[in-house]
Symmetry: C2
Subunit: 314 residues, 2 copies
């Protein structure tokens, strides 16, 4: 009988479940809703039920289950302790020990979802083949993860790879971040931040721009306009990529990765975005750190599931 493992990505709305072969192949994946009621007490119960059912359905012996990897949307320390995951209603407890106990002693490894996604991209995504990698995800927020020697860097408080909170904007009118600080990369690098910057630019100038014709334009509209040569959109993208280039240069000076993988919804702008970040990076980064390549994430929303499986299989 082939041995298998589960890679699980717990999100605020859905839990993504993946069953992987020992040879690192995704055999099957599905989603269940994240039941956040009762302080998120049912989330692990639901995960266990799904695992048990799948084992029965596929007639897999428990001895052939190598383990369960799980990504959590909050800080997780090296020993698997979740430190207040507000998205799930969770307090402080060791999720590895608890889930393992609930599964009758099966090996469980946990990590922060963004860190685990970085491991996924390292394992089978845009950073495959590179052991030293940093993932920057540009989505509703900005997140990330650091992988060194094919292992996640967790940090002393489970807070390594918090790329979104690098203080890159110094301007007196730097925007306030959700974290309470001003000038975090997230304030200018997230989809929300990019749209806000575009609105600010259009409101403070009378530049012609195709964006003025789009009610409630999105981040995608901005990139589409920039690709068409829209001057205002290009200014916004230039500013965004300047900050991303600076952040990447800081990251490179600290860990000197082989590759910086850009993911998240904003990364759908593709090579156009990547080339501009790389150009700014080369202007800012120390010569000996300029060897870092830039790549697009390829696993999309599955990166966490893959990375969670990698916690067990790698």
């Amino acid at each position: 009988m082939e041995k298998i493992c589960f890679g699980i990505d717990v999100g605020g709305t859905t839990v993504k479940m993946g069953m992987f072969s020992e040879e690192a192949k995704l055999l099957e994946s599905w989603e269940i809703p994240t039941r956040k009621e009762d302080e998120g007490n049912h989330i692990l119960e639901d995960i266990c039920s799904e695992i048990e059912e799948k084992l029965v359905e596929k007639q897999i012996n428990r001895s052939d289950l190598l383990g369960v990897g799980i990504g959590i949307p909050g800080p997780v320390t090296k020993d698997g302790t979740v430190l207040n995951c507000v998205n799930l209603g969770w307090g402080i407890f060791n999720v590895e020990e608890k889930l393992s106990q609930m599964l009758g002693g099966i090996k469980v490894k946990a990590g922060n979802d963004a860190n685990v996604a970085a491991l996924g991209e390292n394992w089978q995504g845009g950073g495959q083949g590179f052991e030293d990698l940093v993932l920057i995800t540009l989505g509703t927020g900005v997140g990330g993860g650091v992988v060194i020697g094919d292992k996640i860097i967790t940090g002393s408080n489970g807070a390594a790879g918090e790329i979104g909170h690098m203080p890159v904007v110094y301007d007196a009118d730097a925007e306030e971040c959700g974290c309470g600080k001003r000038g975090c990369l997230e304030t200018v690098g997230s989809a929300t931040g990019i749209v806000r910057e575009a609105k600010k630019l259009l409101a403070s100038s009378d530049m012609d721009s195709s964006l003025r014709d789009i009610d409630g334009f999105t981040c995608k509209d901005i990139f589409d306009a920039a690709k068409e040569g829209d001057e205002a959109a290009l200014i916004v993208v230039d500013k965004l990529t300047e900050y991303l280039g600076i952040a990447a240069a800081h990251i490179a000076a600290v860990t000197n990765p082989q590759v910086i993988v850009i993911g998240g919804g904003v990364s759908k702008a593709g090579r156009f975005l990547l080339d501009k970040i790389e150009e700014k990076f080369m202007e800012k980064a120390f010569k000996a750190c300029q060897n870092a390549k830039f790549a697009l994430a390829t696993l999309g929303n599955d990166a966490g599931m893959y990375g969670a499986a990698a916690l067990i299989l790698c």
Copy 2:
């Protein structure tokens, strides 16, 4: 017979040699000049002679020599390859293999000198007891090293921990760094940079300052004046620590260390400097990364020698 190892720190002027017991005690240390002539070809020869002589003098069997750790003032990759160490006149070669061969097969481990110094501070210095540490050295230049899980982070090109080249200054008149870029931390955080900033401030204002009475004032003079409440000196120290706080916040967002150790000549300003950096750090750093403590380096110029021994003993 007690087993021993050597920890060696190769500098541009002198080579610091340390003999350590297996129990991590420095038994003896001495210096030899760094002979840079003939493309630095005599440096390893001289080191070998010193080791061989010391073994004879102390009647130590070769079988009791655990190994030799060596710090090099240039990039060193994970496999021990030196990538052009201009300070020594060296090209590209594997220093671990070469020195090991010259010593008849003794184990040799090499690292960049600043990274090795970080390991030294982690092992027996200001970061003792903390497995996740970053060292920032403020001297003629600004250097550093990253230690995670008691191991040096080398980086994909031997260039991790290049803290001095984090691009923190955005001003249009940001100074050019020795590396060719503008606005590196080194341009404002090195002793040279601090003095230059003070001179710029005094030249561009008519502020009263005790520094105006000191011909060719030094970095120490600036800190002494600041401690006495000199307004101009305080502005300089405030700006310096603002940039150091920002750099530390970036570092914390990437690797979330337990402790950030400040070393180098400038750190002789002591708690006065440390408290100001920490204050700025707390203003800039992401909440979950604010657990980082600040500590002064304690090993001084011996940090590299200690760290080199740690490459063998830890």
